[in-house]
Symmetry: C2
Subunit: 429 residues, 2 copies
């Protein structure tokens, strides 16, 4: 074994960073044996240097992250500060000064992955980011390496623990969205400002990263259709139960059936209770991958948290350190397929639509005609009525989102349709 | 991209090999883009050269596997013939002649993994074998790389599709073992001689491989305790249902609680219906991995079959080809921890024991005394009796296998115990 240590610098020492530092210390011998050389924590950039950080030598702590990445003797930078800046500039500077980078920064990777990969390649460095998607669950590496000889057609998953906790709570207790969110906040599953989670931004960033790797095509955050889950109601869960379904916030990356384009989207959807994703509870994550040869694979585990995310970071750290000792780099960006990324209109799926309608004869015929005119085939209709008010619940066969939108627009213009109570996609069949 | 192709030779062209060859041809452009150089099928060693193999140039086919591996211009040998010899000699010869090896050979890896890894290392070559365990499911790579910075404490899984199909059938239809086996054979899930599957040899080989990687310790097939599932009865399933459980053939690799040793075993066990492994149906495989930092991860997918296994082989092929272009090798054997592998006696788990006893007062007290004398604590007892015959079903708290064996031996000597109807371990809690 080489005795001269590889030097690692941490950018950020919060929940994840402090756990990375802890494991680097407590498991130093294991890491050295697995890498083939010792690793040394050579610097830690933080915002608040006065905070006591157990187990970390105060002499290593600095507020000057830029000076740290410019030192030139650092082998690997671990970036766990998150957000776009200063993370982007620090990572780019690190590459320029000879370091490889392990990052957990989904927002940055989803926005600027291509440029960062280019910077890594230009400097013969590695950029690894298993921790950016689904915490501890190995997903980037299986997609990028294990399935490198296969053709992935779909990635379908629960990649945000906060929203899964809220939806699971609504499902199991009948609580409304606000009540479930309050509980998630009280238990520390939701942040004070939950926007990034509940509006689907976090999941959309992960969808962009997964789609890019799965389809060997650049997919940016802006390419991902995004719908949050703040408008999911207890009534929606009741409707879902009637159909033998539950509701999950799903990230879905698909290759079009003709193989000529791909889509990526995040939205709440009904899925059958018999689908393995339906039983993913609490803040857990799970991702289905469907490919030509392998068939259906599922990966399940804790999607967030300090220790699980640190596990993913350290797995990457070991790989990057091994590469460095080998004088090699791991697989970089693979975007050769360069497939067009289609918008939501071209997505084909099923829909569950609840309409408030006038309780009089002929309404169903009118509604059915509108669906037919837009080429949307109806699977089932359920009609209920009392006191002159009635509702129609329509479940469609597979149709394009554009056709469905056209249908809904036309339905709203019917005199007999008083309102469209809810529209929800049905997935996982 | 490099234009000179990497040369690949196939040893074996059965269900898996022919699928590997097919994908290498139909997805040649994708593979080239992902590797950074084209790959060329340069030879195929088979036993029956006269068999027509669609899509394979007959000029590539040979019966002389030894000459093929000695050619010296082959970059990667893909070994999918299985069994110990001639596979072992061919792989060793391939290393000596400069090739790296991708293998799906669990029996050989479980028996001679250390020697083969040594041969690979001596010749600066790679030995990859994702396809040897759980077909298409990425498991070797996540354990060896994604979790390289973590400490794995347990691997628990269903790693044999044939036996899972049979047990699932018994569970869902009430069929006996033979009837379910006959159906599995008729459907092609079981081989004409099902011994390797139903007696647990196949699962034991996989357990040895998984334990070795998970614990960085050499674990050979002989180190794995093995009990097949041919004696599982419809009555056992009825007992399991009474406990809210089902029965699965599990491969379990564990680090002892004190961390000082490891165990690996394969046997039928009851697991609660609420455990995710309980709902793994048909010929699917699923593996739970528990580690210090990541927590519980699960990997699920098709555990066998030509295309899924080919997916795993090709993922390895891409990785090995990339390494070759990089002039590097991937992670080799990691056995530095060299922990002692304990026997079954030191395994600690729970037990479900059915006893046929005399239907008279005082029997329960006698039986309970025997458990107490051996230090095995009882969780629940259920007593049923009719017509002078009675049965006792005892479920224990966690105890060592040695204590339980001692208990059972003593129970058999009691006059009032007419027989031990079944003993089954209870896992997954």
């Amino acid at each position: 074994m080489r005795t001269r240590p590889l030097k690692v610098a941490l950018l950020g020492c919060g929940v994840v960073g402090s756990e990375v530092a802890r494991i680097m210390t407590t498991h130093a011998d294991d890491l050295a044996a697995r890498i083939g050389a010792p690793v040394e924590l050579a610097g830690v950039a933080v915002r608040r240097p006065s905070k006591v950080r157990e187990g970390i030598d105060p002499a290593l702590v600095t507020t000057d992250a830029t000076a740290l990445v410019k030192r030139g003797d650092i082998d690997v930078i671990v970036e766990v500060i998150g957000g776009i800046e200063p993370a982007r500039t620090l990572i780019t500077t690190a590459f320029e000064h000879g370091a490889s980078v392990v990052s957990a920064n989904k927002a940055l990777l989803a926005q600027d992955g291509a440029a960062l990969h280019k910077a890594a390649e230009d400097h013969d460095a590695d950029l690894y980011y298993e921790a950016a998607v689904a915490g501890a669950i190995p997903l980037i590496r299986p997609l990028r390496e294990s399935l490198a000889g296969d053709k992935v057609n779909r990635v379908l998953g629960i990649v945000n623990g906060t929203t899964n906790f809220i939806l699971d709570k609504m499902d199991s207790t009948g609580a409304g969205y606000q009540e479930a969110l309050d509980e998630a906040t009280a238990l520390g599953y939701a942040e004070a400002d939950p926007t990034a989670d509940v509006e689907g931004f976090d999941a959309a960033a992960k969808a962009a990263i997964l789609a890019g790797i799965a389809f060997h095509t650049r997919v940016r955050l802006d390419d991902v259709y995004r719908e949050g889950m703040t408008e999911v109601t207890a009534a929606d869960f009741a409707s879902a139960k009637n159909m033998g379904c539950t509701i999950k916030l799903l990230a879905i990356c698909e290759r079009a059936e003709d193989g000529g384009s791909v889509t990526a989207r995040v939205h709440p959807a009904m899925i059958p209770l018999t689908h393995p994703l339906a039983s993913v509870r609490g803040a857990y994550n799970a991702v289905f991958v469907e490919s030509d040869a392998a068939g259906q694979l599922m990966f399940y585990g804790p999607g967030a948290g300090g220790a699980p995310t640190a596990s993913a970071v350290l797995g990457d750290l070991v790989a990057v350190c091994r590469n460095r000792l080998n004088g090699a780099t791991g697989p970089g960006e693979s975007a050769y397929a360069a497939l067009p990324v289609s918008g939501m209109g071209e997505v084909v799926t099923r829909y569950h639509i609840s309409l408030d309608v006038a309780d009089k004869p002929g309404v169903l015929a009118q509604v059915a005609t509108v669906f037919a005119e837009h080429g949307v085939s109806i699977d089932t209709v359920r009609q209920t009525g009392k006191d002159g008010e009635a509702s129609l619940v329509v479940v469609t066969h597979r149709a394009s989102d554009a056709s469905l939108s056209g249908t809904v627009e036309a339905l709203r213009k019917l005199d007999t349709v008083r309102g469209v109570a809810s529209i929800m996609r049905v997935e996982g069949e």
